[in-house]
């Protein structure tokens, strides 16, 4: 979709949502709630992608991540019935605090680096391809420049499917 007017407002809301629910995801004890928080975060990210002129990716994100992967998570969580797992206190303070420190430090450094990073060739002028042709362009790229990666990926998916099947298959019976 073309960038909405009031981009900034949308961005602010979306980012608040995303970050807030990401934090919630971490804080939550019950896995199911974490999953749900993550879903919201993903929606925020989807909005970002739309703003960044990648609607296809946005929908893909909702479709694949929110729609499939996280549902799979939910399915597994419910299957193993992890909801009621007693959330006892973390008996490793060092790990805890160091972890926090590491996360914050890395986040700080990365964002700093990202900000400092020279903007690649500055902003391009509004490009030539009309938005409607985004998907055909992606398709063409997939089957030209990225063909090898694409094929490899398809093979990877096949292997993953087989592997998952074998792993979760009970022996005997």
């Amino acid at each position: 979709m073309p960038a909405l007017s009031g981009d900034l407002v949308v961005f602010t809301i979306a980012s608040l949502l995303a970050i807030g629910f990401a934090l919630a995801m971490v804080v939550q004890k019950a896995p199911v709630r974490s999953v749900l928080s993550l879903v919201v975060t993903f929606f925020g990210l989807a909005i970002f992608s739309i703003q960044l002129a990648a609607p296809f990716v946005a929908v893909l994100q909702v479709f694949v991540y929110a729609g499939a992967i996280l549902v799979l998570f939910l399915f597994v969580i419910m299957l193993l019935n992890l909801g009621q797992e007693a959330a006892e206190e973390d008996r490793r303070p060092l790990q805890k605090w160091l972890g926090l420190v590491a996360a914050l430090a890395l986040g700080g450094v990365l964002s700093g680096a990202a900000l400092r990073a020279p903007t690649p060739k500055g902003m391009r002028p509004p490009a030539v391809v009309p938005l409607a042709d985004e998907i055909p362009t992606i398709g063409r790229l997939l089957f030209s420049d990225y063909l090898l990666a694409f094929e490899a990926l398809s093979f990877l998916l096949l292997v993953a499917a087989v592997g998952a099947l074998l792993l979760s298959k009970r022996r005997f019976e």
Partner: protein, 349 residues
């Protein structure tokens, strides 16, 4: 009148129209219709007391539902328990946004395309929403903290994931034919030509296999008989909405019918030429209105199909469901892809 404002007005108008038709006109009558059809099939009158032919039965039911007490189990996860029905409801309400319900009507001196939002990723949007919808069921099942409900949730999640695949693969074939993800384009494509010279180029004719797969998968996605395992009364009391009552239950009820309508519309759009009908003018004011009529007629037919099936077929067992999804539909949908590709390469369509 500034273009943005008029655009906004136009959008609002379409939304109002679609929701009006679906919620106000269709939904209540569907409830009534289902029970009448049941009666018809089971050779009994069905509701016929409230109002003429019992037409007002639905309103009575809704009223009753809203009167009832809204119970939340003690050990349930309150937030999610409250949220679940609406998580289910929202996507099913927003699905209609991209479905073209008519060709075009000239109004106030401008051609108004009869679709709320003609986005270039239309069908993906529909699938995305459909896949999000499942959260409602799953959460309902989990939040109730009730083993039957949980079972229902697990089942629905597994079921939806499994059938999304074959559904999507089947739909992709239609996109291949139309060469676009935009549903408007898909319909125009079907309306635009002939198949083998004399047949309308509807996808149900060019790729019958895909059509069947899509319909079956749609049944599973909407948890309708014969795939209504998440709420299989015989095994799970009432499945995911066991612990729901009052208007929340109503919400589930409503969402189910909304999904019913939505998927019927999708069938009509993807495989049965949407609003188009051979030898029928689709341009001009009259044509536009006719096209709308045609579209909803087709939709109603599929709704009836849903009900018909529901009251005639027995329910699957869960492993049978999975086998069907993974071992039958998935390979067949791949086959259908091949078939369609061949047709396209051979310039047959």
């Amino acid at each position: 009148m500034s273009p943005t404002l008029s655009a906004a007005l136009e959008g609002a108008g379409k939304i109002a129209f679609v929701w009006g038709v679906v919620l106000a006109a269709m939904l209540p009558n569907l409830i009534w219709m289902e029970r009448r059809v049941a009666g018809l099939i089971q050779d009994r009158p069905g509701p016929n007391r409230v109002g003429p032919f019992g037409l007002l039965q639905a309103f009575a039911d809704v009223l009753k539902m809203f009167m009832k007490e809204d119970v939340v189990p003690l050990y349930a996860d309150r937030v999610l328990h409250t949220l679940a029905p609406f998580i289910l409801l929202v996507p099913s309400l927003t699905t209609f946004a991209v479905i073209p319900f008519g060709s075009k009507v000239p109004l106030f001196g401008r051609e108004i395309p009869l679709v709320i939002a003609d986005v270039n990723i239309g069908i993906l949007y529909v699938f995305a929403l459909a896949s999000v919808g499942v959260y409602g069921l799953v959460l309902a099942g989990w939040a109730s903290n009730n083993k039957f409900a949980l079972m229902g949730g697990i089942r629905s999640s597994a079921q939806v994931i499994s059938y999304e695949l074959s559904m999507g693969l089947a739909a992709i074939a239609t996109l291949m034919a139309a060469g676009s993800l935009r549903l408007v384009r898909v319909v125009e494509y079907q309306a635009g030509g002939t198949f083998l010279g004399f047949l309308p180029r509807w996808n149900c004719l060019t790729q019958p296999l895909g059509c069947v797969i899509f319909i079956v998968a749609a049944f599973a996605e909407t948890n309708r008989v014969p795939f209504d395992l998440p709420e299989a009364e015989a095994e799970l009391v009432a499945g995911y909405h066991t612990e729901y009552s009052g208007f929340r239950f109503g919400a589930f009820f409503m969402a189910e019918y909304l999904n019913l309508v939505a998927s019927s519309m999708m069938m009509a759009t993807l495989y049965f030429g949407g609003w188009s009908l051979p030898f029928l003018p689709s341009s001009g004011l009259l044509g536009g209105l006719l096209s709308i009529a045609v579209f909803f007629a087709k939709t109603m037919f599929f709704v009836f199909l849903f009900m018909w099936v529901r009251w005639t077929l027995p329910r699957f067992r869960f492993d049978q469901l999975m086998d069907l999804g993974w071992k039958a539909l998935l390979p067949l949908s791949l086959l259908n892809l091949l078939w369609t590709g061949a047709l396209i390469l051979l310039k047959v369509i």
